[in-house]
Amino acid sequence: MSHGSASSAAPKAYFAVFGALMALTGLTVWASFLHLGVWNTPVALAIAVTKALLVAWIFMHLRHAPKFTWFVAAASLVWLAFLILITTSDYVTRAWLPIYGR
């Protein structure tokens, strides 16, 4: 949690991340008009994940945070993956079996 040590370097990094976030926003709008077939959504999500990581790493100071904070932050993704994957595994596999009420 060294805030004082990087006191002048921090704003520079913030402006750099700001520029990157703006550029990636333009990129995702541009990419959404391309005919990428099934790849439109993966490309949009890849850009969104990149933006989210930049915000978390620099703006939210994960870069300077203790390892245990990284662990907690990463845990959110694990639980989110459980939530989405287990739910969709139900919806995806329902059509496989001729069960009444599916």
Partner: protein, 231 residues
């Protein structure tokens, strides 16, 4: 000598230090960790809606792509930029408060509030348009036309708008709470409560504000950009 120092320090414990923490560093670390734990629960709070989105979008792909094209791309993109600007001013406010710059701290906090207000204002304009176009789910919903094929969209386009209003509404609620927290920070900053030694409240509200930004970073492409390639 060392004992004398320790005794002197315990008498002059900083007013920000709660007695159950050994020092301000331990207190800051515990507070930050607790905020991250709260954000984990927030991820799952929004995660429930994202899961519903995944299920219904994969089931009604065509309806979702057509309905997504009815959202105002310009307003959505401008709002994304506004929110990124507000994250920058928030990050700078955290930095300024940690550097002991009171005026800059207040200035950046006010800037963050103003940008949050612009975001909410644009959101209000978008919601108004949706009401005027009968695209709000409920008894007044009229199945809209597909801008790509000029045929009526499937009935399930209403499901897209249900998710649109729930997800952006919950996000906007977080923004409103954030604006309240920022106002509280300005009051504290004016009272000289922050210093390089202690700026934890600014730091934690910053974490919250950036998290809300991250939610929008995912909402924008998932709601506004679904069917643009079909136009």
């Amino acid at each position: 000598m060392a004992d004398a120092h320790a005794a002197a320090n315990s008498h002059e414990a900083p007013p920000e230090l709660r007695h159950h923490f050994a020092d301000l560093g331990a207190q800051r670390e515990a507070s930050t960790l607790a905020m991250w734990l709260f954000l984990v629960t927030e991820v799952l709070f929004f995660g429930g809606m994202f899961t519903a989105y995944v299920v219904y979008r994969s089931t009604y792909r065509h309806a979702f792509e057509g309905a997504s094209n009815l959202l105002d791309l310009t307003l959505g993109a401008v709002n994304t930029a506004v929110l990124i600007c507000s994250s920058l001013t928030m990050a700078l406010a955290v930095w300024a408060s940690g550097a002991g710059r009171k005026k800059a701290t207040i200035l950046f906090l006010v800037g963050t509030i103003l940008l949050g207000g612009v975001f909410l204002g644009i959101k209000a304009v978008e919601y108004t348009q949706k009401f005027q176009h009968h695209e709000v789910p409920g008894p007044h919903f009229v199945v809209p036309m597909d801008e790509a094929t000029h045929q009526p969209l499937p009935r399930q386009s209403e499901m897209f708008f249900s998710l649109y209003f729930c997800m952006t509404g919950l996000h906007a609620l977080h923004m409103i709470i954030g604006v309240g927290l920022l106002t509280w920070l300005i009051v504290k900053a004016r009272r000289d409560e922050f210093s390089p030694r202690y700026n934890t409240p600014v730091d934690l509200v910053g974490l919250y504000w950036h998290f809300v930004d991250i939610v929008w970073i995912f909402l924008f492409p998932l709601l506004y950009l679904l069917g643009r390639h079909t136009l």
